[in-house]
Amino acid sequence: MAKSLGQEFSKGLWAEVPPYRLVLGLCPTLAMTTGVDNGLGMGLAVTFVLICSNALISLLRKVIPKDVRIACFIIVIATFVIVVELMMQAYAYALFEQMGIFIPLIVVNCILLGRAEAFASKNGVVASCADGLGMGIGFTISLVILAAIREVLGNGTFYKIPVFGPTFEPFGFMVTAPGAFVCLGLMLCIMNLLGKK
């Protein structure tokens, strides 16, 4: 193992932060950033699934036959997605309603399968957990930043709390679908400006 645990964890935060650097997992990034609350909810749900699936796949990496590994990974991921789905339905119903079909769609989020294939199937349990945690937090932070920009400009609120006072005229474009694409595009541009991969 060339890298330390700290490095496995921190690469997800900056050097390989999923939506901006690797351009993976775009659908939830676009759809779940209309407000900070659902951005955060999505981020945490993905983080949970990512850590659990990375750990389990890493434990099973010597048992899973190479030819059918993708199918096995998908089943492991789907199991944890169902766990998240049921838990949210029980404890955070409002958020569950708001996120709608995007919770089951975590299954096809390329970040999860990507990490399973590229990292967890080759590394030990602890390193895989660190990798999952880092990637998950990086993903959550990216979502929250994008959601904050969109919610503040588009609704004049941050986590449903008004920030500009009653005279603020919301820039409604930002919370619509076109605003999502433009905003993410500009975000990528800023990341490119801040530093190359």
Partner: protein
């Protein structure tokens, strides 16, 4: 009959799966650099999504509902779709090699295309009948194809333009998609 027409128009334009429902963006950005790859992907999605719509409807009605297993829907659907894609690939390779040559490399990618799984979830959520499911699946897939092909046309032009360094490639692609989505926003008035 007019209900069905309305469903088609609404799934292709008003609720365009790519630009309005934000599904399937990874293949959208990945395969839109050239017109012919976009065409291949669009055809593959139309082909698979209609089949997937039909088969997930059957799974839902006959299997999940009968045995009260709705909470396993996520896993059942992804497995059914993954198997379907594999099966379609083998079937085409053996029986219709010409079609396979055209769609071949795009088929495995479809398993992780969230537009396919997403459309199936929407169909279940809206409680469509079998015929409605087929029509809406086709509509969503056609909307995906339409947006993808049009966007690829625009993107080929952008390749020739002089774009500022940091904005190049995916970044300008997303901004363009935003403009494109704005155009589709106009269809909202039709609903």
């Amino acid at each position: 009959m007019s209900d069905y027409m309305l469903l088609i128009v609404s799934t292709i334009f008003v609720n365009n799966i790519l630009l309005m429902k934000y599904l399937g963006n990874c293949p959208f950005l990945g395969t839109s650099k050239k017109l012919d790859t976009a065409l291949g992907m669009a055809m593959a999605v139309i082909f698979v999504l209609v089949l997937a719509g039909a088969i997930t409807w059957i799974t839902e009605e006959l299997l999940l509902k009968t045995f009260g297993l709705e909470y396993l829907r996520t896993m059942a659907f992804i497995l059914v779709i993954a198997t379907l894609v594999q099966f379609v690939e083998m079937f085409l390779k053996k029986n219709i090699p010409a079609l396979y040559a055209g769609l071949g490399i795009y088929l495995p990618l479809i398993t992780t295309n969230c537009a396919v799984l997403g459309a199936c979830f929407i169909n279940v959520k809206e409680e469509y009948s079998f015929v409605q499911t087929l029509i809406s699946s086709f509509g969503y897939a056609a909307g995906f194809g339409l947006a993808l092909i049009l966007f690829a046309g625009i993107r080929e032009r952008i390749m020739l333009a002089r774009v500022p360094g940091p904005l190049r490639d995916t970044s300008i692609g997303l901004v363009t998609a935003g403009m494109f989505s704005l155009a589709f926003f106009g269809f909202k008035g039709m609903a």
